[in-house]
Amino acid sequence: MSPDWWLYLSAALFSVGAAGVLLRRNAIVVFMCVELMLNAVNLTLVTFSRINGDLDGQIIAFFVMVVAAAEVVVGLAIIVTIFRTRRTASLDEANLLKY
């Protein structure tokens, strides 16, 4: 199977994720869309690793997973705290930090 398909798939996943981040208001959904984008990138890296026949892409993909796991911990904690104080998980409601 041509590796191009994997790249098309990851581009599609990335676009879905990006659209979700920009268009959805629910913080949890936006968060999941971010994860989707990260995994789309991981898929690309792994594909490149396969194309080039070395391990660089796979190693970076592992790094991304580690960082994403840490990010999930921090991000979910923030979202839970916002939900507890404001009784909503809508991003447009959490707009106090502005001019």
Binding site: A18, V21, L22, L23, R25, V30, L91, D92, A94, N95, L96, L97, K98, Y99
Partner: protein, 652 residues
């Protein structure tokens, strides 16, 4: 021809600058000339009211003691040979900076000796006169303190051995002049006149200050020996610049055009002040400066020509103004301007004129001081009335004043054998002997002005002492007390004899020769001296006759009649004040107004505008921070997309 001749002449004149002999023996007294009146001033000004009863005596004593020291020094100097009559007394190291070393020292030579005798002699007489004149004034002690301060500063001016110390004296007399013109502080006119004199003098002082700086830059020193002795080695352009700056200084102090306006207003001060400071001594400091700086002017013919022009213009202006004034002191002040114009003219003629300038300065010191004291006596008798139209017929009630004033009058118009004849006649002669067009112009000016001098002085005599009495109601004129008449008599004797004594056998000429150089004998006179003397006497006689016909034979109206444009101009000081106001004051005001506007609108406007632009811009940029996370995310996507697009464009 003139270039070669003037160079030869310059060589001849630049020669005398011998190093002064260190002071020893009686010459170590030189410093006491300055110290005695300075101590007097300190005692009088610091001891307060408790010195009121005896303060004036201290003032007189300090001045007379200084005069006695001067007499002792004069005879000691007589005992030396001509070229060893330059005595230097080192006082202390004044400015001991690396590269700029100035010692404070005094220089007693024939030129300064002549001035010292004039200052202390006439000064002492005027101190004595003031005892009577100021006897009813509550501030008499303060007055004598200022007078002593003036004498000390003036002596420092003429005794300094360098330009920097001279400048100290120069400013000192300016300060004393300011304090004494404004002595009657309750009179707003006096306060204004004092300020005016001070400000106008500052203009001249800036010139002198710049001259001294230029000297230091050029010669590396400011002492007379260092500057005048090395003048030969400096380009004539620099010397001309120094000469013109010195002339500016002289113009300020000596009330010469264009800085002449302060002197007429300075008559607001007490009359003894006018006699001492604004007639006999301080206003002649400019002449001293020019004569002392002779070696510089000898090598800078352009500067010298400027000096003669200033002298000629001022002597004509003074004579014209004198014809129209009704205030007796202002007539005398205008006359002083005019006579100093003669001296400056003579000093500008170079070695041929230095001694004559000093001669006229000394004779003028006698007769003008005498006449001012006479005017003070008249004012004293008529309750401080200064308007000559309210005088008249005073010769019978004030015989001593009349006779002493009359002798001064005969001296100033230049009638032989009175002193003015010898000095003024010589100036006219020297001006004609200068040769060329300038000689004729200067000579004719001096000659005509001599006639005008005779005219206005005759007018003054006729209006004051002759004719019917036009006194204000209730005036009882009386002769002044003897403490006032005695100095007038002495000065009158001086104005009769001084000229003859100083000229006899060329005594003053020989006395001054070591300092000002030998007078150059002119090969051929432009006009033979005898003929010129006769012409001068004819012109003077014409002036006297004219003055007598116009003012002596007719009755004088008590209020000034309407007059032609020339008289109106002369009454208004030839528009000197108006010119200053139009040319300097108004543009100055405009300039300051424009600067204020430019500072407010231009400089502040730029800075404030910049701040406002940045502030306003920031306020708008702030709106970008909406607080909506998704819009931030959009800009991040947009940015990332742009970066990727840019990379792709570059790569492809």
């Amino acid at each position: 021809m003139s270039v070669l001749a003037s160079q030869a002449l310059a060589q001849l004149a630049a020669a005398p600058a011998p190093s002064p002999v260190p002071a020893s023996g009686s010459f170590s007294l030189t410093v006491w000339l300055v110290l005695l009146p300075l101590i007097g001033a300190a005692v009088l000004l610091l001891s307060g009211r408790r010195a009121d009863p005896w303060g004036h005596l201290v003032g007189v004593a300090a001045s007379v003691a200084s005069f006695l020291v001067a007499v002792v020094l004069f005879f000691s100097l007589q005992g030396h040979a001509g070229d060893e009559r330059s005595i230097g007394q080192h006082l202390f190291s004044w400015v001991p900076v690396a590269g700029f070393h100035v010692d404070a020292g005094l220089l007693l030579d024939p030129l300064s000796m002549a001035f010292v005798l004039l200052i202390t002699g006439v000064g002492s007489l005027i101190h004595i006169y003031s005892v009577g004149y100021m006897s009813h004034d509550a501030g008499r002690r303060r007055f004598f303190g200022y007078l002593n301060l003036f004498v000390a500063a003036m002596l420092l001016l003429v005794l300094a051995d360098g330009y920097l110390l001279l400048y100290v004296g120069w400013e000192g007399v300016g300060l004393a002049s300011y304090l004494l013109i404004g002595f009657w502080t309750f009179k707003p006119t006096a306060a204004t006149a004092a300020k005016k004199a001070f400000v106008v003098n500052r203009v001249g002082d800036v010139g002198l200050g710049l001259a001294i700086m230029l000297m230091f830059a050029t010669f590396g020193t400011t002492s007379f020996v260092g500057v005048l002795g090395n003048a030969d080695f400096v380009s004539s352009g620099t010397l001309t610049a120094i000469g013109l700056l010195l002339l500016l200084g002289a113009c300020g102090k000596s009330a010469q055009a264009p800085l002449q306006t302060w002197l007429l207003d300075a008559m607001e001060g007490p009359t003894p002040v006018s006699a001492l400071i604004h007639a006999a001594t301080m206003v002649t400091a400019g002449v001293y400066l020019v004569v002392r700086s002779g070696p510089i002017f000898d090598l800078a013919p352009d500067a010298r020509l400027a000096v003669t022009i200033v002298g000629a213009v001022t002597l004509s202006m003074g004579a014209l103004i004198g014809c129209a004034k009704d205030d007796i002191k202002k007539v005398l002040a205008a006359s002083t301007m005019s006579q100093i114009g003669y001296m400056v003219l003579a000093a500008g003629l170079g070695p041929a004129g230095y001694a004559i300038a000093i001669l006229h300065l000394l004779t003028h010191g006698f007769f003008k001081a005498g006449m001012f004291l006479g005017a003070g006596s008249v004012m004293h008798a008529l309750d401080d009335e200064v308007d000559m139209r309210r005088y008249g017929g005073l010769r019978k009630v004030m015989p001593i004043t009349f006779v002493t004033f009359g002798l001064g009058y005969l001296a100033i118009i230049g009638l032989p054998p009175f002193s003015g004849f010898f000095s003024k006649d010589k100036i006219i002669e020297a001006a004609f002997d200068k040769g060329g067009t300038s000689g004729w112009v200067l000579g004719t000016t001096a000659l005509v002005a001599a006639g005008v001098t005779a005219f206005y002085m005759t007018r003054l005599m006729a209006m004051t002492f002759f004719g019917e009495a036009r006194w204000a109601k209730g005036a009882h004129p009386h002769e002044a007390p003897s403490v006032m008449t005695a100095p007038m008599v002495v000065l009158a004797i001086g104005s009769v004899c001084a000229g003859g004594l100083l000229v006899l056998g060329g005594s003053l000429q020989n006395w001054l020769e070591p300092v000002v150089g030998q007078s150059v004998e002119v090969g051929a006179h432009t006009i033979s001296p005898t003929v010129l003397t006769l012409i001068t006497l004819l012109v003077v006689g014409g002036g006297v006759a004219g003055g007598w016909v116009v003012f002596g034979r007719r009755s004088i109206p008590v209020t000034a009649p309407a007059a032609g444009p020339l008289v109106v101009a002369a009454r208004r000081d030839l528009y000197g004040d108006a010119a200053n106001e139009a040319l300097l004051m108004r543009p100055g005001q405009w300039l300051t107004r424009w600067l204020v506007w430019f500072d407010g609108r231009g400089v502040d406007g730029f800075v404030n505008g910049l701040a406002a632009t940045i502030g306003g811009g920031s306020a708008r940029l702030r709106r970008w921070q909406t607080g909506f996370v998704r819009s931030y995310a959009l800009s991040m996507f947009g940015g990332a997309a742009l970066v990727v697009a840019a990379v792709l464009v570059v790569r492809l």
